[in-house]
Symmetry: C2
Subunit: 439 residues, 2 copies
């Protein structure tokens, strides 16, 4: 019997569980261009509405991985940890985590993505350092990680090519927000690269794609399940994105904030979460106990060893390592800065995180549509956290803009994105919980 | 706000009722090529799974009609009746109905389709008459109907172009079997042509697309609702397709059978149903009472007036009118004929109608895939009806084939497509019921 993609679509339409062979033929057929976009679009909508079982999701993920090359990092002797965030606002964890883990004796070969919608992307942030390259070949990546302990590079087109095609199609057909399809997309890329541990940061809240902790938990468990299916170690944290994680929402601004953290000059939720991920990696890979692992991570930030790894990584990738000593001598700064002050007094009760991300994107820090250029200099700094007491007229944010009118429009939107109440507001937890089996 | 087709897809995905403006923009955007196949495919699957309300279906139908030209038949003075069947096996009603209605003083400007899957198509059947043209221009169609009373022509590409595009996409994406989408497809084509009455024959049973009377009823009511929405008179009958309606399953064979009926030489269900439709048209358009209308229709078949209209129609369209006197002097005959005999004795309890249609298509009478050529000479004659008493060895069917091996394979399949039981079997009703308001 000849394989007819319509049968696969019809069975998913009718809620039948598809076989491994059917799903594999469908995904690989789509990746190779034999199955047209419109049949895949019908399949995606049927999968969105009727769901995919854990088994189906695993088969799709495997087929996606097999649609391209995989990266083996066999020459690297240190324990390899990979880390991925589902995307948030002021989520600079990777910039700090990679050199911090390297300083702790681990290896981080991180393939990163670009900003999407209201969320920032690690590659965009790093590229605000003049001269820095992210297009490392697999050989360059492996060599740098072996020598420095860390590298952050762009994903090559040959790694999980099915994901790029499917993501673009999902984006065009209103089928992005399907948990199994998101899990397959995230995990296919992580599973295609060799590592000893995958750490996932699944964001939940107003600044994340998953608006509730419950939805984020479901995604975290789906991802962990896919790792287990491939015999890979994976731990996933559901973390708060009801407000920006750090202060910086932009690109150069995020690098400057990462430098502050790496020099031990900044406390707060961004540092806390980065330390939590580094400690988790040590616990899993080096069998350290929880408090010793955390203390080691804190120490590496405070004693300059993480910062030193960062400088070496930047230099290895062609950037100017002086960004560590004097960020603004290297990074591009925006010509216009405007302070935004609180409209009333009281407690910061809520922040529209997605709106802050969109404001930064409108300023030029992100892409309104695919392929838009990035202005690395612009963005926002938004400093208070939920629960903080604010006085009327107190500066809460700084807008970094290309011109006065953009700055003014952004300031007004920032003012409207915060809710100040007379009653004390409770800060949300930073980490809602961890998922995935310990070793 | 710019129109984004993704919003329409997302709202249908979420089960929201779409506005007239959204649906119109989406359907016309697809018909004009501005909206790509993949977005339409996602929409179709969402509509298949979440359904379409009567209001949405009406808006889609209106937009489909407005995607192309409409045909006004203003010069025709006689009452105009149009007739459509949802497709069946040995469904030669149109071939007889058009000249019969013309003989009764009505006008039939019938735009017909090709065979699809296991079902035959009136155009394919008529074209087995050498020289006969079906590509009449709107002017030719109007003139012939005014002069002869009837014409059967192919639909031009400019009539409801959205339907052709959407049907092909539905076929490729497993979204054909949606009642609102079928109703919109059927009715857009009927409503785009001026008429005083639309008669629908909605087939139900093993040889039809709707396998149950209940599903066929739902489709009939959806179609009638679309006519009402446009202020058009429409009556829809749900009729039996649990067995072939007539005996002939092919093309030339169907024309020969139609000639027998038009000469008053054949009785049975095909004649009965054709008379029922002609009588319904007279009741609706000429206010005749039921029994007088039926008697008039029977008379026209028996006194040769319907036959005479058929001959004039064939001649007007370039065919040889001698087909009426001596069909096989005009029609192509198959070189091989094989009788199929009953395997046992008893009562005919069931016939796999769809399978008989597929056997005929395999012989060459239909299209296995789009664009296949038609062999007008081949096909089947299947004579007994459910409930008939059969003796072992009694001939039940004749296979008309291009060669011996095709005939043998078809004969074996025909034998397997019938169920003979020792207990008497009850014949199914011919008409399950009529839908749609009387004038």
């Amino acid at each position: 019997m000849e394989f007819d993609p319509r049968d696969v679509v019809a069975r998913k339409r009718d809620g039948v569980e598809l076989s491994a062979g059917e799903l594999r033929a469908f995904i690989l057929g789509y990746a190779s261009g034999e199955i047209p976009d419109y049949q895949a679009a019908a399949f995606l909508m049927a999968a969105y509405l009727n769901g995919l079982t854990a088994k189906e999701t695993a088969e799709i993920t495997t087929a996606m991985i097999d649609s391209g090359d995989t990266i083996s990092l066999g020459r690297i002797r240190r324990p390899k940890v990979d880390k991925h965030s589902t995307g948030g606002v002021s989520d600079g964890v990777t910039l700090v985590f990679a050199p911090l883990a390297a300083a702790l004796g681990l290896a981080v070969a991180k393939l990163s993505g670009r900003g999407r919608g209201h969320t920032g992307g690690t590659l965009d942030k790093l590229e605000s350092i003049p001269g820095l390259r992210t297009d490392l070949s697999p050989e360059e990546l492996e060599r740098q990680v072996e020598e420095v302990g860390c590298a952050v590079a762009s994903q090559s087109k040959d790694l999980v090519p099915a994901d790029g095609a499917l993501y673009a199609l999902r984006d065009a057909t209103a089928t992005v927000a399907s948990i199994p399809l998101i899990a397959a997309s995230v995990m296919s890329k992580k599973l295609a690269v060799e590592s000893d541990l995958i750490l996932l940061d699944v964001k939940a809240g107003s600044g994340a794609f998953m608006k509730t902790a419950r939805a984020a938990e479901e995604l975290a468990m789906a991802c962990v399940g896919l790792a287990e299916h491939r015999g890979r170690a994976c731990r996933a944290a559901v973390t708060d994105m009801s407000q920006p994680l750090g202060s910086a929402i932009g690109n150069a601004l995020d690098v400057a904030e990462a430098v502050m953290l790496l020099r031990g000059d900044e406390r707060g939720r961004l540092r806390e979460l980065t330390v939590a991920f580094a400690a988790e990696a040590l616990e899993q890979l080096e069998e350290r106990d929880s408090s010793a692992a955390r203390a080691a991570a804190e120490r590496s930030l405070d004693d300059g060893t993480a910062a030193e790894r960062f400088a070496r990584m930047i230099e290895a990738q062609g950037g100017d390592p002086r960004v560590l000593e004097d960020p603004w001598s290297v990074l591009p700064a925006a010509p216009v800065r405007v302070e935004v002050v609180a409209r009333g007094e009281g407690f910061l009760a809520a922040v529209e995180g997605e709106e802050l991300g969109r404001i930064a994107a409108t300023l030029g820090a992100g892409r309104i549509k695919k392929g838009d250029p990035i202005d690395h200099a612009v963005g926002l700094e938004f400093r208070p956290k939920i629960g903080d007491r604010l006085e009327a007229g107190e500066p809460v944010a700084t807008v970094h803009a290309r011109d006065e009118s953009a700055a003014e429009a952004a300031s007004e939107r920032v003012r409207r994105a915060v809710t100040i109440t007379p009653d004390p507001a409770t800060p949300p937890p930073l980490v809602f919980g961890w998922h995935g089996g310990r070793r």
